[in-house]
Each structure stands twice: as C-alpha cells, then as structure tokens.
C-alpha cells in the first residue's frame, strides 16, 4: 500500500490539509517509515501536541522526532533560523505545520510579519537544498496561506473521502488511499526501520554559510 503514497523529496512540499487535518500526520508517518534519520517538527498552533503525535504516529515513530513549539511569530522565526545549526546532516524531514499562523497574530505588526514570513519561506527552501532534506509545510486559513502555497516547490491536496484519505498532487502517480487499517498495517514496518533512531543534539551542524541571509 505504501507505494501508492506520495514520497517526499528534498524540496519544500506544501500539503493542503484544510479538508483533512489528519493527512499531515499520515504523510509524516509514511515518510518516516522509509527514512532512518531524525526529523524536526517546528510546531505552531499545537499541531505537535504529544497526544496527537502519539495517536497518529505511534510511540516508536515519535522517537525520531524533535519538537519545539513557537508561541509567537518571533519565536517561530527564531526556530526556523536555528534549523541550519540544529539539523544533523542525517536529518530525514522538517515539518512546519500551520506555518504562517503565528505571524498573523495581532501581536506582530503587519510589516514585520510580511518580512518574517518571506524570510522564513526562503530559509526553508535553502535548508531543503543545503541539508538535502524534505520540508513539509501546511498553512491555516490565514492571510499568508497563499504565499506559503506559492513558495512551495510542490503542492499536495488532501481530501477526506468515504473510502478514506486521498492525496492528489504533482508527482503522485497513483492517488493514495489509506483506509482504517492501512495505517495499522504500516506500523510494524516503520517500527522495524526507525525504532532505534535518536534525534537529539547537534551531531554535525551544516555550515551556516550554505544558507543565505543567515
């Protein structure tokens, strides 16, 4: 079943999960099933709440995740800026859900928010290239959603159908469906593959010079 799903490449992938919020976790869990390296989750709007991650990813897949939460736009910006120094060269994925939501909060003045969102989109693009790592982003229905979509190298659309979840988009040759048992059957697979991978600490920071503007 996993061969029907979109594979993530070292580029910025925008997942429109507004009609199927669970799609974010499904795409992540499928990706982690194939990849050994640690993943970084730059959280916003509580998408990375431990309960949600355990529920959707399973306890053992969670072990390859490192999470940091942004409660303001400024913190989100600083977290993204810190990625080049934080990511190991072996990193397999960067996830940034609700990417622009913290910048749309009223406590960030518009002109600053505009500049920070633009910089963050550039940074993520540079990170994906420099570290050779897939970057998966989603957006809430905020004023920056269109910018996030436009800046992505690739767009995937998730829909919840009666038959299960469907993801369409560039490069997905067959529409992937997960039914209620599809998730379950993949569990032993990635547990086997990634169970023992740790994700903490800075092993070998990527040269910051590889990322412009940093």
């Amino acid at each position: 079943m996993t061969d029907q799903l979109p594979t993530l490449d070292p580029e910025v992938t925008y997942l429109d999960a507004s009609d199927a919020p669970a799609a974010l976790y499904r795409v992540v869990v499928e990706h982690l099933a194939d990849e050994r390296g640690p993943a970084c989750w730059v959280d916003a709007r509580n998408r990375g709440a431990p309960a949600a991650l355990y529920d959707h990813l399973g306890r053992r897949a969670c072990r390859s995740l490192a999470v940091a939460r942004a409660f303001t736009g400024y913190q989100h910006y600083e977290l993204v800026r810190s990625l080049p120094g934080t990511l190991r060269a072996t990193a397999s994925l960067v996830v940034a859900p609700a990417l622009a939501a913290p910048y749309a909060d009223p406590d960030v003045p518009d002109h600053e928010a505009d500049a920070m969102v633009a910089a963050v989109l550039e940074l993520l693009d540079a990170v994906s290239t420099a570290v050779d790592v897939p970057v998966l982003v989603t957006a809430d229905a905020d004023p920056y959603a269109a910018d996030v979509r436009r800046a992505a190298d690739r767009v995937l659309d998730a829909t919840a159908t009666r038959m299960g979840l469907r993801v369409d988009g560039d490069g997905v040759r067959v529409d992937g469906y997960w039914d209620a048992t599809g998730f379950q059957t993949t569990v032993p697979y990635w547990v086997d593959r990634c169970g023992a991978v740790g994700c903490r600490g800075v092993e070998r920071p990527v040269a910051p010079a590889a990322v412009p503007g940093v």
Binding site: P50, V67, E78
Partner: protein, 718 residues
C-alpha cells in the same frame, strides 16, 4: 517621596514630592529616557550602521556604546547601542522606526530592542532611583456616582467618601471643591475616571493645578486569552487618579495592598493601580533584572528547547492529581503545602537562569531530567521578599495585641501578595512574559508533583489512606486495618524533609466529593465537608461557617444568593440526615418560597463577566440580553466589565429576558418580576450537587419531586 510624575506637554517630567501637608512640584528637564539595541551574534557593525542612521534624528539626544547582558542566562555582557531620547514618551515611536529601518536594510531580527515598552513614569523611577512612595500616609478622597446617573451625566447623586454631597449638581460641585481645599488629597479614588471631564465641565479642577489630560480613549483588549475593557484614562496635575472600574488590585487587595506593591515594584501608584497581576509581576521582574544588568526585552525571541515527544509529554502533565472515588468519607484530615509553587521556585531554585544551565550536567528535575544551577535564581529573589513579608504579616495577624484596624490592613496586604504568588507559576508559561521560560513552568510542575508523591508516601507509611489529592492538598483518613501515627507529626517530618511547610489544615467530620459532571476529564474539584469541632475552634470561625465548599454553586461567584443560601441549607440537611431523599424533601421548601414570589429580587441577581459586545454573541444568551437591556437604558457595558441581572422571562430572547440589578433595586419591577421556573431549575441543580456524592443524579431528584419518596424507591427496586 516622588509619588506622582506628571509629563508636561514638552515631554519634561514633573516630580511631585510629598511634604508634611501637601506636595511640591519639581520639573526635571535634564532627564533623558533611553532604549537599548543589540545585534544578532553581537556583530557590532549593525550597531555602527544604526548609530549612523539615527545620528540625524532630532528625537535622539545621544548615542553611546554600552555593555549589558542580553538575558538572565548570559554570562557575559553584550555590546549594545544606547539611544538616548529627548522626550519621555517617545521610546515606542523610536523603536518602531528602528524596526522599519532594519527591515529595509537587513534580515528581520538582526536587531533586538530593550527597555521599549515601559510606562514612562515607571521608567523614570527605574532610571533615577526615585522612590514612588511618600514618607507619610497617602491623603485620599473617594468620589462616586451611581452608574445609571453617570450614564446620564448627572452628578447630583455624587458622594464624597461615601456621603451624599448635597442633592443638586451645584451643591455637589461646591462640596468637592471644599473637600479638595481642606484635605488637599494626594489620591483621588473615583467610581469612574469619567468624573474628571464631567467635573471639569462644571468648573471643578481635581488636580493641584488647573486642567486635566486625556491619556487614552476607551478600548478593548485581550490579555491572558480574556477580553478586557479599559475605560478612558485621565491625568490631573499633582494627584494620583485611581479608577475603581479598572483597578482589579484595589478591588482585591485594598489600598494597603496597593501601597505594598508600589514599594515592591517601584512603580508609581497611578500606573500600578490599573495593572493586572501580570503587569505587577512584570514590573517587579523588570526591576530585579535591571539590578542584575539585564534590560527588559521588547519582543521576546527566546525559544523553547528542542524536545523529544516523550519529554514534551512528561513536561505537559499538569499538577498532581489523585482521583478519589466520589462519595462521602468520614473523619478526614486535610494537609496542604503552603504556597507550593512559589516555595518550589525559591527552595529548589527553579528559575529562567537555573533550569537546564550549561555549567551543570545533573538531572535535578524529576521526570524531565533538566539540571538546576546552584547559583541564586532570579525568580527566587523576585518572590523571596513577598513570601517572607507574607509570613511575617500572618504572624502579626495571629498576635494577641493586633488591633482590628491593623488586622484589616494586614489582610489587604496578605491578599495582595497572595494574588501575585498564585499567578507567578502560570505567568512563567505565558507567551509574552518578558522573563518567562516554558521549561521553568514545566520544572516547577514536575518538582511539585514529586513533593506531593513524597507526602503521599509518608502519610501512607504512617497508617493513613489518601482519599483525594490535588495540586497542593491531600485528604487522608485512617486506614481501618492499621495503627496510625499522628498526622501532624507526619506533616512535620515531611516539612523537614522537603523544606516546604506541609500544614495540617484541620479535620473534617466528613467530606463529600461530587462525581464528575459527564466525562469532562477534569479532576474532581467539587466537594463540601464539615470541619470537626476542634478545627472550627482553631480557625476562630463561627458555627455558621463550619462547612467548606469548593466548586459547587454556593461557592460560585455567578450564583444568585438565593440559590447559594438554599444550597448551604441543603448541605446542613445532608449533615443531619445523610439521606438523599431528606435533602430533596428539604428542597421542596425552597421551591415553595420561590413559587410564592416572595424572594427579594436582589437575592436573585446573577453577576456575569461580559466577554463580547452584544452583537458578537452567537445565539441568544442571557449575557447578550443583559447587554441589550443596558444599551436600551443608556448604560454602557464593555467586554471585561460585568453585568448583574435578574432573569425575568427566560423564554424570551431580547432585552425583556432580564432586568438589570439597579432596576430591581429601584423597585421598578418588584413583585413577581422573576422567572420562577428558571430559578427552580437552578435550585434543582444545586440540590443535585449536594446529593450526587450519595449516588443521585438530576433525574432522580426530579422524579422524587414529582412522585415522592415511595415512587423513587420503587424505581430503584424495580
């Protein structure tokens, strides 16, 4: 000394210093406020660039390179540009302009700004070391006008220090002038700051010099996720204006409490009085940090540490809970850790500058494994004086020679500090807390949970059984199969072991824990119990308040007094009979009183905080109806304020659904003007809370009311 700072039109501060009888004004034209700027990774070329940019700015008086620590964890000072300004009150403007210049030339976040959003008067005191308290008592005058009269701009009902001032507007104005002349007050406590312009229109100047200034128009804001309303603010020369409507602290802590917090925060009374608790904590912390060479960050950029999901999960756990079985327990002792969270902060040194320090590789924080540095933590130094003062006042309060006046003053101060202490833990997790750190919030929780477990194990080892535990309290009863050591002795041992006082609060003859309402997942926080004789005697309480209520209607601020009183009576019945049917039988008496229409409307008034404007409520709620009614009557009510109403006809949706409290006070709708069935429903629910520990639910209460004892019994049997 300098109890009030006026800011002149030209930006020059004028300090008002108390004299024996009065006050003198001294302008301070040499004072210059300053903003600090640091660059990412301390790259000074950005500071040089900014200095060049700002040099021609007429607002800027001087530019200087200084060294300050960027945050509490920094070991070394960083180079910063100190931008000195000509006028007090232009700091935010300059900061916005620096941000705009930065965005034109550099990536966002190249510059970090400090000491930007401080109240000008607080800033002045911080910078000059001016003491914001007079070395004598504050002379105060209290002016008030009822809301309804104020809405019509009618000052004839004005009262001075609680006494009606004359009955006519003219008489009231003359009276105010005479009182100001005679008392020469330092502080004006006003029922609404709108009195400043209203009195000025009538030729009465409230200040020590003519005129007044409008500091801010009315506005609505969100803080801590709650909507608040700040009424317009006015300033008069030489006197402190305290608006009762916008002073949470005056309400909760009284004047003595306010005065104490002015001293602790170093923030002048007028500015402190309208602060939230978070604002007071910020001021105290800003001052403490300044003393440690750390300026106040404008936009906090410090981020959370990267965490594994397991650690995040462990850190996300709330306070200690030990779920009891709902029901009634006899002979129960309550044990409480006194001020648990603040004491954890101080005794265990949990602070933004100690948690996860770089210099120690220990795993001091249980479950999370964070290290705790051995150095004196910032937060402990912030809270230490508050904790010490509070316990000293409690000792004075207990002393035999303490006069009733002195006791009241001590109570006010004890309350003021209590509010700050209970908020300090939550504030650490607040995203805009200038010196807050999420890991500190997590560590406090983890240490506190560990201490509760230690206490639980100690009492269990001494032959006691824990029937309930939550956050900082344990309820224990004797294990029938074992011998017990005295519970006070065990508490003393725990106190010695953990360094935080575990106090034996008292003994209950019985405690009843209510089951959860539906499966909400929340801990059991609704209970009631009866203190044993020796505990009642020890607390000096009267026989009337020998019951303790938590979370049930009798304790809720929004309950009508009639419902609360009926519930207290039902609890007394519960105590006598220990029988659900007898309690519900007693409920009939209250329902009859209600249906006779003989309840005074004031006892039916419901007080509710308004969270939105009338047109923002989805659906027809009572709060919305009350707001619409207030608007019809010309009375403004804003989000953040409260409305008090009696439900007149709950089936209607418009302003006819309710009557406002002052209408029923006037007697305008006395005589059967309330919705009997609405209040009957509230009574039934209050009754359900009382019988729920005995296993009854609302349906059984209603069936019993309808069918009587036999029918209910038979419904159990078959």
């Amino acid at each position: 000394m300098t109890f009030k700072i006026d800011v002149r039109e030209d930006g020059v501060p004028v300090r008002w210093t108390a004299t024996d009888r009065g006050a003198t004004a001294t302008p301070d034209p040499d004072y210059r406020p300053a903003v600090l700027v640091a660059a990412r990774e301390d790259r000074t070329r950005y500071l040089d660039w900014l200095a060049d940019e700002l040099a021609p700015d007429p607002k800027v008086a001087a530019l200087e390179r200084v060294a300050r620590r960027r945050d509490l964890r920094a070991d070394e000072p960083s180079p910063m540009l100190r931008v000195e300004l000509d006028r007090l009150g232009e700091c935010r403007q300059l900061a916005r302009e620096v941000r705009a210049r930065e965005l034109d030339a550099h990536p966002p976040g190249t510059l970090s700004l400090y000491d930007v959003d401080l109240d000008p008067q607080f800033r002045y005191c911080l910078d000059t070391g001016a003491d914001p308290l007079p070395d004598r008592r504050f002379e105060r005058v209290d002016l008030s006008v009822p809301d309804a009269a104020l809405a019509e701009g009618d000052l004839s009902a004005l009262a001075v220090d609680g006494d009606p001032a004359g009955g006519s507007e003219r008489g009231a104005c003359r009276r105010v002038e005479r009182v100001l002349d005679a008392a020469d007050p330092d502080v004006l406590v006003l029922s609404s700051a709108e009195l400043v312009p209203l009195l000025a229109e009538r030729g009465v100047d409230l200040g020590r010099r003519p005129g007044y200034r409008t500091l801010a128009g009315a506005s609505t804001y969100t803080s801590y996720g709650r909507v608040g309303h700040s009424p317009a603010r006015y300033d008069v020369p030489g006197r402190v204006v305290v608006d009762r409507r916008s002073s949470f602290l005056l309400d909760e802590a009284g004047f003595a409490g306010l005065r104490y917090l002015v001293a602790r925060a170093g923030k002048p009374l007028q500015e402190l009085a309208r602060d939230s608790i978070g604002g007071v904590l910020t001021a105290i912390e800003v001052r403490e940090a300044r003393g440690r060479g750390v300026p106040a960050p404008w936009q906090k950029r410090q981020t959370e540490d990267w965490k594994s999901v397991d650690r995040l999960h462990a850190a996300d756990r709330g306070g200690f809970t030990f779920q009891p079985e709902a029901g009634v327990h006899g002979d129960v002792h309550e044990l409480d850790f006194a001020s648990l969270y603040p004491n954890v902060i101080r005794e265990y040194g949990v602070s933004p500058d100690t948690v996860g320090c770089d210099c120690h590789d220990t795993t001091d924080v249980p479950e999370l494994g964070y290290s705790l540095c051995e150095r004196d933590g910032f937060l402990g130094d912030v809270l230490g004086p508050l904790l010490d003062d509070r316990s000293a006042w409690k000792d004075q309060h207990r002393a035999d020679d303490c006069t009733p006046t002195e006791r009241r003053r001590l109570d006010a101060k004890i309350d003021a500090v209590k509010w700050v202490l209970v908020s300090c833990f939550g504030y650490q997790g607040y995203r805009h807390a200038k010196f807050g750190r999420i890991e500190v919030h997590e560590a406090i929780n983890a240490v506190a949970r560990e201490l509760m477990l230690t206490a639980k194990e100690a009492v269990e080892a001494a032959g006691w059984r824990v029937v309930h535990g939550i956050v900082d309290s344990l309820w224990v009863t004797a294990d029938p199969d074992r011998d017990q050591r005295p519970v006070g002795e065990v508490a003393a041992e725990v106190t010695d072991e953990v360094g935080i006082a575990l106090e034996h609060e008292g003994r209950f003859d019985w405690v009843a824990f209510c089951p959860r309402k539906r499966a909400s997942g929340a801990a059991l926080t609704r209970y009631f119990g009866r203190w044993a004789d020796e505990s009642v005697a020890a607390s000096g309480a009267t026989a009337d308040d020998r019951y303790k209520f938590r979370g049930i209607e009798a304790r809720q601020r929004s309950s009508a007094e009639f419902v609360a009183a009926a519930q207290r009576d039902l609890v007394a019945t519960f105590d006598r009979e220990r029988d659900a049917a007898a309690v519900v039988e007693r409920l009939r008496t209250h329902l009859r009183t209600l249906r006779r229409g003989s309840v005074p409307p004031a006892d039916l008034a419901i007080r509710q905080r308004v969270s939105k404007r009338a047109d923002e409520y989805e659906g027809a709620t009572r709060a919305r109806a009350a707001l619409e009614r207030a608007a019809d009557l010309g009375l403004e009510r804003h989000p953040g304020q409260s409305v008090t109403y009696v439900v007149a006809d709950d089936d209607r949706s418009g302003p006819e659904r309710v009557r406002l409290a002052f209408e029923v006070d006037d007697g305008a709708c006395a005589g059967g003007g309330y919705d009997t069935e609405f209040y009957a429903d509230r009574l039934v629910r209050a009754c359900e809370s009382v019988v729920s520990p005995l296993g009854w639910d609302e349906g059984q209460v209603r069936r019993f009311l309808r069918d009587g004892r036999d029918a209910t019994l038979s419904s159990f049997v078959g």
